[in-house]
């Protein structure tokens, strides 16, 4: 009987809206339960580790926290980390632009293979990233005897740390540029070419402004990994505090020496860096989507424009 009445007297608009929501969403209690579970997961796995780091860093007071940053070894590890990032990030950025240009602007044999090889450092263990350089340049590695004869140190010295870091951060810039440049197409570059622009002019004035947010996104991810890498670097560094320790290695040294407050202080500095990275990354992602969509729209409009002209001809 109720259904009969409903047919003749449509329910109020609010009730209908309520039923619409119910038919394509879960009941309120389930929604709340799901949000609650995920929130608990986030607190347990993401929030608490961060809190414990900052709490550990400030355990002996703010003065002690600041005092750590006057310690020679800690300062030196920050310097090493900075130098490593300053070398590896630009080097991989340059590679990223070159690889993205080659892969998205040209068709050639081995293109898929190149794409797959760029990804390789993402899926191998970081320890392997260090191991391979030891096998090449270590004391008993392939070039070991020659390097020893010429008194060049790569493993257990700065060059090894730079190489291992370059290996693990290798794909980041290329990976963030390739999908973006693929989606944007190259009509504007070709137009510039017909107007007489040189290759580098095209790159500097057309391509780079078009991809700047994707490029920035790749740079900050690359930088975060370069500054925070542990596995690869721990294999190739001599782990001598004040000489070849990066910040993550210094954390390990301090932690194993039971200097917990100092270890957590260095960890807090790196955590702060990763929080800034997350913030910048979110902004870049947002801007990147906008550029991507603008590119797609331009592509769509240009193809729509060409259809009537073809029909007229």
């Amino acid at each position: 009987m109720a259904s009969f009445i409903d047919l003749h007297h449509p329910p109020g608009s609010d009730r209908r809206a309520d039923r619409m929501v119910r038919s394509t969403s879960e009941p309120l209690w389930l929604r709340r339960l799901l949000i609650g579970i995920v929130l608990a997961f986030f607190v347990l796995f993401l929030a608490l580790p961060l809190i414990v780091i900052f709490q550990g860093a400030l355990e002996k007071g703010f003065g002690y926290f600041l005092h750590n940053f006057t310690d020679h070894d800690i300062l030196h590890s920050m310097l090493v980390t900075l130098i490593v990032a300053l070398i590896t990030v630009p080097a991989n950025a340059l590679f990223g632009i070159a690889a993205a240009w080659a892969i998205t602007r040209f068709r050639f044999r081995g293109r898929q293979l190149l794409l797959a090889l760029i990804d390789l450092p993402l899926w191998v263990s970081p320890v392997i990233g260090g191991l391979v350089y030891v096998l090449l340049y270590g004391r008993r590695g392939y070039f070991g005897p020659w390097l020893q004869a010429h008194d060049i140190r790569i493993i257990f010295a700065m060059p090894g740390i730079v190489l291992a870091t370059t290996f693990v951060t290798f794909p980041f810039v290329a990976r963030s540029l390739i999908p973006l440049m693929q989606a944007q197409g190259c009509e504007e570059e070709e137009a510039a070419l017909t107007l007489g622009a040189s290759g580098f002019e095209i790159l500097r004035r057309i391509t780079l402004p078009k991809i700047r947010w994707g490029f920035f996104y790749g740079l900050i991810l690359c930088n975060a990994r370069a500054m925070g890498e542990f596995g690869a670097v721990s294999v190739v560094s001599a782990k001598i505090s004040g000489k070849t320790n990066t910040m993550p290695l210094e954390i390990e040294r301090l932690y194993n020496d039971y200097l917990f407050a100092s270890a957590f202080t260095v960890a807090a500095a790196l955590s702060l860096l990763s929080l800034i990275t997350l913030l910048l990354k979110t902004i870049a992602e947002w801007q990147n989507t906008r550029q991507l969509e603008a590119g797609r729209r331009a592509l769509l409009e240009s193809s729509i424009d060409t259809i009537p002209s073809k029909a007229n001809a």
Binding site: I53, A102, F230, S271, S274
Partner: protein, 275 residues
């Protein structure tokens, strides 16, 4: 030859530079890994990779990673669902925080988790009276692996949920399906490929992970040693061919995991195009 096929300049320069850099940083070192593995001979290789201590480490690295990846599958799916479908305060903040395990250095995560779960620390001290030990046991390794693998599942599944058209769910509801039936027979099957891809990516990452695990695992031989640590041990003894043999085994295992992931991804793409 290339000039005829391409309009834009810079083909030789950009491809030349890419291949040179790739060779220096990735190809030559990998060739060294394969060469060193081969130089030890088959007998030495087999002896190294089937050493009982190394085999015990496979159980940890490949076994516990699998459990971690499956747990991440469950929580990752839930997180992706609520981010894509529900409106609630703090959603954007939580979405941004999802990538924290990508951004946080592994050593930092390692000491933080150890500090949380050690017997007389934050969470550890509440669990110790109950007889539950987490730090320096396989459970600690599991937690670290869950931590580092979590974003993969969310990042893989969330775009697919956002792309789903609600029309199909409305149609199912109009045809009299309950919400649970709709989810089970309409929504969930379309998410399976991306969910599996995310789980496999999380698995691959956990298998190779080193920094966040070595602090919380305690590195007890035969009990809580991971395979990457066995490589480090061999290198500490200057046993290059032994280290290369284990490294090569891990490389092949990772390659298989990645191939499985790629296969699932292309399957998922075909699946989505059809629907």
């Amino acid at each position: 030859m290339s000039k005829k096929r391409h309009i834009l300049p810079g083909f030789n320069l950009s491809l030349g530079w890419s291949v040179t850099w790739l060779s220096m940083i990735v190809l030559l070192p990998l060739a060294a890994l394969i060469g060193k593995t081969a130089s030890g001979g088959w007998g030495h290789f087999w002896e190294t990779v089937t050493d009982p201590q190394v085999v015990a480490s496979y159980r940890i690295s490949f076994g516990i990673s699998l459990i971690a990846a499956l747990i991440n599958g469950v929580f990752g799916l839930m997180a992706a669902w609520i981010f894509a479908r529900y409106q609630f305060p703090g959603r954007r903040f939580m979405e941004a925080a999802t990538d924290l395990p990508f951004a946080l250095p592994t050593a930092v995560a390692g000491i933080a988790l150890t500090a949380l779960y050690s017997p007389n620390e934050w969470i550890g001290k509440w669990l110790e009276p109950l007889g539950i030990k987490i730090a320096f046991t396989p459970i600690g390794i599991l937690l670290a692996m869950i931590f580092i693998g979590f974003p993969f599942v969310v990042r893989s599944v969330q775009p697919v949920i956002s792309e789903l058209s609600v029309d199909v769910e409305e149609a199912a509801a109009c045809l009299g399906a309950t919400r649970w039936q709709t989810l089970k027979s309409v929504v969930f099957p379309t998410l399976v490929p991306s969910l599996l891809t995310g789980v496999i990516m999380a698995y691959g990452r956990a298998v190779g992970e080193y920094g966040s695990i070595v602090f919380i695992s305690g590195n007890i031989p035969f009990k809580t040693e991971i395979t990457p640590l066995m490589i480090v041990h061999k290198l500490e003894q200057y046993d290059y061919t032994g280290a290369a043999a284990i490294g090569f085994t891990m490389l092949v295992a990772s390659l298989l995991i990645v191939c499985a992931g790629n296969f699932l991804q292309s399957w998922g793409n075909r699946f989505r195009e059809r629907t």
